[in-house]
Amino acid sequence: MQAVYPLTFAALLFCVGVYGVLARRNAVLVLMSVELMLSAVTINLVTFGQIAGDAVLTGQAFALFVLAIGAAEVGVGLGIILLLYRNRATVNIDDADLMKY
């Protein structure tokens, strides 16, 4: 199989995630877009790991780490979003401008 198929899929997922992070206003949707970007990173890691073909499977081990960190990120991110909703009664990230200059 050509290596360009998974790499293109990863690039597509990452760019769609970038669009979602920049354009959506709902904080939970922004979190979903970040998940898409993390998935793109794991696909790249696994693909390049297969191309390099090293003995200790660095690509797949790092992909597992990214998976676990993504799960932790969703937990902490949803905690922050719930806190924002409780204090500001909104999940619109355009309204979360307390620390904006």
């Binding site: 290596a3 360009v4 905690g79």
Partner: protein, 201 residues
């Protein structure tokens, strides 16, 4: 075209389409359900490449746990189940950024890896486990510690503190405005500044 090529193309089209639908869907619950299809497509990519264990971990963690967590988040923030309001003002700028980025990345990928063959060999779970628990043992255990810390932190963040913040308004007209500050009795809690003052400042 061989069978892996066809499978990968199907996964690419399906996953790409559902990923686009995640970010353009008007309904947030539909977006979460399209996310399931996109993440399953990622698992399918892993299966085609030959990373079996990662594929099923992806299904378990992302499709099983993360999407359920996100749906709970939508429920707890009382997200509008119907169509939501328009996107942020910089939507065109975001579209331009992502399209330019994709064209750049695709050009780079096709120039650098246009003729690279991907060796398709199945990585057995036992082999991955041996490597993980011998060569990657210390990072792997630190990862477990990290996950514990992150989840305890998430619980502490989301827990309701005494006298913190006003109750969210149920009225949709009021919800778009700034919430009215809850009256805080400073006589009983002297050292505590009013949270409402910090919010409106």
């Amino acid at each position: 075209m061989t069978l892996p090529d066809l499978l990968m193309l199907a996964v690419l089209v399906l996953g790409g389409a559902s990923a686009v639908l995640v970010v353009v869907a008007r309904n947030v619950v539909h977006a979460a359900l399209y996310l399931v299809v996109a993440l399953l497509a990622v698992a399918g990519t892993f299966l085609v490449i030959g990373a079996e264990f990662l594929a099923w971990t992806q299904v378990l963690i992302y499709v099983g746990a993360v999407v359920v967590l996100i749906l709970f988040g939508l429920m707890l923030t009382r997200a509008p189940i119907g169509p939501i309001e328009a996107d942020s003002d910089n939507r065109r700028l975001a579209l331009a950024t992502s399209v330019v980025l994709f064209v750049f990345l695709a050009t780079m990928i096709f120039r650098a890896f246009g003729r690279t063959e991907l060796p398709l060999s199945v990585t057995r779970t036992a082999a991955l486990g041996e490597v993980l628990y011998v060569h990657w043992a210390f990072p792997f255990m630190s990862l477990g510690f990290f996950l514990t810390v992150a989840l305890v932190g998430a619980i502490i963040l989301a827990r309701k503190e005494e006298g913190e913040g006003p109750e969210p308004q149920l009225d949709p007209e009021m919800a778009t405005e700034r919430p009215t500050p809850a009256p805080t009795d400073t006589s009983t809690t002297p050292g505590v500044t009013k949270p409402s003052e910090e919010i409106t400042a």
